[in-house]
């Protein structure tokens, strides 16, 4: 089920909320667990069974690990089995066909030995698998285990963040699972966050997607349209993903859970290193805490080891995003740039030298956009063709009627998207308030009225039956 659907907004969510607040406190977690399973089964009922298997499996692993003495070899072995089992499920559903396909391409004789599976990729498997794994690893590291199977199930399957994140650590909500308070104020904040996210998705991401989709669908395009397409995609993926995360955070707040932020205006980053501290923060921190640090992080003796550690993390990041060579290349390229930034101390140099920092900031944004070409294109070959068009190597012209049309027709949304991808609006609002030009109440009234109107516009798009799945559903 999508948050941005009529049946969610006007059926599932109101009923879930109403019953939640009617039920006694003790029953609420069970209710949320049940509706989360229903939410997941909505897409494909068989996926729910897989989810239950994952919950049960990780429950048993964590319980067993917690019962064993710290330092016991069996404890470490159980952790290994748990991680292997989780990654195994992920591999089978998400990566097996890619691996077998690649083997078939390079070693044709393997076609006789094994074929491809017909498994359908369960929605959000990468998210909840990593979430479940982090719980087991954290139990291994010493956090108290969750003995209530349904409570653990709630943590893994909680519908706000189940299928597109943020990847929530168990410690973030451990206390709230057992006891949480919801005030009208916190509920209101949650509602506001949800509306922000909804509006971003419906009015920015979905509309800019039309330009990006058109550009990436062309066999031939002008330089102008190629650049317009990737700019729109850059904004689309940000608003799509961050919009979903905001909706998840907002929904969590409404039920009394405080999730951590997942985006922090990534496109104002001065370096690629900074970009990955602002983009999909929960994933970056997951790899940092569960892969990079265990490998030694930056506190290793040799630069070669540092490079290796970074390579592993970024290769894994690319692989996490998709079972295709362009995702792997995307991850590796980020790894190369971040490694270079680390070895050359670029972030520190950039902080001290303004003349360098501005061009490098532009370079950072360009690199991010080039990365999105790899992300969006239907394979490596298509990505190469798109790059060629961007740089005039195979484009029809510098600017054409199609580029002119899309620029003109989508200008307002494009401008809104560029502004909203920066902290400018918030800065202006705070400046107006701090200088006394606008009162807080007036500023709030304008904000809430605008967001409400935009929300109704977003609902009108749903009514018009626009097709609007989330990009990151594929992960």
């Amino acid at each position: 089920m999508l948050f941005t659907s009529l049946e969610f907004l006007f059926c599932f969510f109101p009923i879930t909320l109403a019953v939640y607040f009617i039920l006694p406190t003790k029953a609420r977690n069970y209710w949320l667990f049940a509706v989360s399973l229903l939410f997941y089964a909505w897409g494909e009922p068989i996926f729910m069974l897989m989810m239950l298997v994952s919950i049960a499996m990780n429950y048993v692993f964590a319980l067993r690990i917690s019962e064993l003495d710290k330092g016991a070899r069996l404890r470490k072995f159980m952790l290994f089995v748990a991680v292997a089992a989780n990654l195994g499920i992920l591999f089978v559903y998400k990566y097996m066909n890619f691996v077998t396909g690649t083997l078939h391409d390079f070693f044709p004789f393997t076609k006789e030995l094994f074929g491809q599976t017909s498994f359908v990729l369960p929605i959000g498997i990468s998210f909840f698998t990593f979430q479940a794994m982090s719980y087991v690893i954290d139990v291994y590291r010493g956090i108290p285990v969750q003995k209530n199977l349904c409570y653990l199930g709630l943590y893994i399957s909680f519908f706000p963040q189940l299928i597109a994140g943020p990847i929530v650590r168990y410690t973030t909500i451990a206390e709230e699972i057992n006891s949480r308070t919801i005030t009208f104020s916190s509920f209101s904040k949650g509602m506001l966050r949800f509306i922000y996210g909804f509006n971003k998705k419906m009015l920015l991401a979905n509309i800019l997607a039309q330009v990006a989709d058109h550009a990436f669908a062309q066999d031939e395009l002008s330089v102008g349209l190629a650049w317009l397409g990737i700019i729109c995609y850059t904004l689309q993926i940000f608003f799509d993903f961050s919009g979903y995360s905001e909706m998840a955070i907002g929904l969590g707040l409404m039920f009394g859970f405080k999730f951590l932020e997942n985006f922090n205006y990534p496109y104002i980053s001065k370096t690629i290193t900074e970009f990955w501290r602002r983009w999909h923060i929960s994933l970056g921190s997951w790899f940092r805490d569960y892969v990079y640090f265990p490998l030694g992080g930056s506190r290793v003796k040799s630069k070669l080891r540092l490079v290796f550690n970074l390579f592993v993390v970024w290769l894994a990041t690319g692989i996490w995003h998709g079972a295709a060579w362009n995702f792997i290349l995307w991850g590796v390229l980020y790894g190369i740039i971040i490694t270079a930034e680390k070895l050359l101390s670029v972030p520190q140099f950039s902080d001290r030298h303004k003349l360098f920092s501005i061009p490098y900031q532009i370079f950072t944004l360009l690199m991010v956009m080039f990365g999105w070409v790899l992300f969006r294109a239907e394979g490596l070959s298509a990505a190469v063709d798109y790059f060629k068009a961007m740089f005039g190597i195979s484009s029809t012209s510098l600017w054409d009627a199609a580029a002119g049309f899309y620029f003109k027709d989508y200008f307002v949304i494009l401008l809104a998207g560029i502004i909203c991808s920066t902290p400018l609006l918030g800065f202006c609002k705070n400046k107006l308030i701090s200088t006394g030009k606008v009162g807080i109440v007036t500023a709030d009234i304008i904000t809430y009225t605008t967001q409400t109107i935009l929300f109704l516009v977003g609902v009108s798009y749903l009514v018009m039956n626009a097709h609007n799945p989330f990009i990151y559903f594929n992960f």
Binding site: L6, F10, C11, F184, I413, V441, Q451, V457, S460, M464
Partner: protein, 520 residues
């Protein structure tokens, strides 16, 4: 406290909105659950049922569409939801389906040759389009090939010397002309455009058949009254973007200022309209109130699109049978044509599936067949497939064999609305028959319509039927119906009703001097 009051009001308002909307639409969930239980649907099917219900039947959908269009307009969108907004404020399709004009023009040429071989005339009418561009582009970068396809079609037919009338130079030569003859928010021409089209069609037919000229009242706007309804029509394109995107249209319908006596029969609904022009063809229920999304004032002529519509006019200046292979542009045009031609029948290939077009022609036997297609639907193959090979055998079957001759058929009264007599049984399969009568005598009761039908006694289904406008048939001596039996070995019978099908209660009817022939 004051700081937080804004967010609390905001939250309360949203809760109220979500709650109200949820409650108002709860019936959709209940309905879906009910359907799932009754039809024993699985979980996946139930999910689909709920999704479909919410997207198609959501309350206040129209208001949301209008609001959405307003936002699109304010945000500067000129192409939205497959609708393009032109500089003059008119709406047009942003693109049209690809047309295989090469194949379609060949089919039309073959069709016209077939008709010529059967002593029937053929006229291709190229309906106009809302764009005057001869090239590809509309609003910079949007490609609409409608006129390109129309050009290709007209050129191919002219080369093959098929009688062709291109209405585009008269109705869509430039933006000003288009503004005059087309609705802003609909893809159709307005009534003024349809009337001009009708006059050009009549001129062309007069020229083709060397007809004598007729009283100019028929084709002069001055002899026609106009009734206008302001701001009543949100057209097909407007319905996609709401009324705030490009406004709404006025609607005007024309009806003659001179005396008329005609009928219009829609077999699909057994609906018979008889009287003057307005009684026969104007459907005032489409313009009696303003309902932008649920009514279509464009359908003020005839009420909609049907497989077959039969117009009869005993007082028409031309005693000719015209068959129009039509689409929605024909609604007003065929109605106007029914004032000058004694019989106008319109077959809509989108809806008519009982036989091929050529087989229908074989039975109806028109003097002239007119095909009119507008450029936006030239990708629709059903306008260009005629089933000539199916009709050819019946055309070749010239040997007449009498089934029965000169007999009176009496239908005694009953209280059934579908009272009939079986006249013959076990008709030969895949055979053309013609049944004719001298008159219909109502011994008890009255009626202005009488039905004969081909009935499948094995499946108990009506195969086809004809309802005669008795008044018209008496004046023109045309109580005759041809039909083709299906190509299956079943018991096909001819039925004769005590008046109109569905309205035969307590009527006593004698069909006088009936004969039936078959053709080998």
């Amino acid at each position: 406290m004051r700081k937080n009051i804004g967010i609390k009001i905001f939250t309360t308002a949203l809760i109220v909105f979500l709650s109200l909307s949820s409650v108002l639409n709860l019936n959709l969930l209940v309905g879906a659950l009910k359907t799932a239980r009754e039809d024993d649907l699985g979980f996946g099917e139930l999910v689909g049922e709920i999704k479909t219900s919410y997207t198609s039947d959501f309350k206040s959908k129209d208001a949301y569409i209008n609001f959405n269009g307003l936002f699109a307009r304010l945000s500067g969108r000129t192409v939205y939801n497959n609708v393009a907004l032109l500089e003059n404020g008119m709406l047009v399709n942003d693109s049209v389906n690809k047309s295989d004009t090469d194949t379609y023009s060949k089919n039309i040429i073959e069709f016209s040759e077939y008709l010529e071989s059967t002593d029937r005339e053929f006229l291709y009418v190229q309906a106009p389009y809302k764009l005057d561009i001869k090239g590809e582009l509309t609003n910079d970068g949007i490609v609409n090939y409608a006129n390109v396809y129309a050009d290709e079609m007209v050129s191919a037919l002219n080369t093959a010397k098929v009688d062709t009338l291109d209405l585009r130079p008269f109705l869509s030569a430039d933006a000003k002309t288009i503004e005059k003859y087309f609705y802003n928010t609909d893809h159709h021409w307005n009534t003024s455009g349809a009337f001009l089209g009708y006059t050009k069609v009549v001129e062309k037919i007069q020229d083709m058949l060397r007809l004598e000229s007729i009283d100019e009242k028929y084709t002069s706007e001055a002899s026609w009254n106009k009734k206008t309804y302001k701001d009543i029509f949100l057209g097909s394109l407007g319905k996609r973007v709401g009324k705030y995107y490009a406004g709404v249209d006025d609607l005007t319908y024309y009806y003659p200022d001179f005396k008329t006596n005609m009928s219009c029969y829609v077999p699909k609904h057994s609906a018979f309209y008889k009287g003057d022009f307005a009684d026969a063809v104007i459907r005032k229920n489409q313009v009696e109130k303003v309902d932008y999304f649920n009514l279509s004032p464009y359908s003020v002529y005839l009420g909609g699109d049907y497989p077959i519509v039969q117009h009869r006019n005993p007082d028409a200046p031309y005693n000719l049978k015209v068959l129009i292979i039509r689409e929605s542009f024909s609604a007003a045009l065929q109605s106007f044509m029914s004032t000058v031609f004694s019989e106008v029948e319109a077959l809509d290939p989108r809806h008519y599936k009982d036989s091929s077009i050529a087989e229908y022609i074989e039975c109806y036997n028109p003097d002239l067949v007119m095909l009119m297609v507008n450029p936006s639907i030239m990708g629709a193959s059903y306008y260009f497939n005629y089933g000539i090979e199916k009709a050819q055998p019946f055309n070749n079957a010239k040997n007449e064999v009498s089934v029965f001759e000169n007999k009176d058929i009496e239908v005694a009264p009953t209280d059934s609305a579908y009272n009939y007599v079986r006249v013959t049984e076990n008709l030969s399969a895949n055979t053309k028959y013609t049944v004719s009568f001298e008159d219909i005598d109502f011994k008890i009761g009255k009626g202005n319509l009488a039905t004969v039908a081909l009935f499948n006694a094995d499946t108990k289904q009506l195969v086809s039927s004809q309802s005669f406008d008795i008044d018209y048939c008496r004046k023109t001596d045309s109580f005759e119906w041809s039909f083709i039996t299906p190509d299956t070995s079943q018991n096909f019978c001819l039925l004769v009703y005590a008046g109109a099908h569905g309205k035969t209660e307590n009527k006593h009817v004698i069909w006088k001097n009936c004969s039936m022939k078959k053709y080998n």
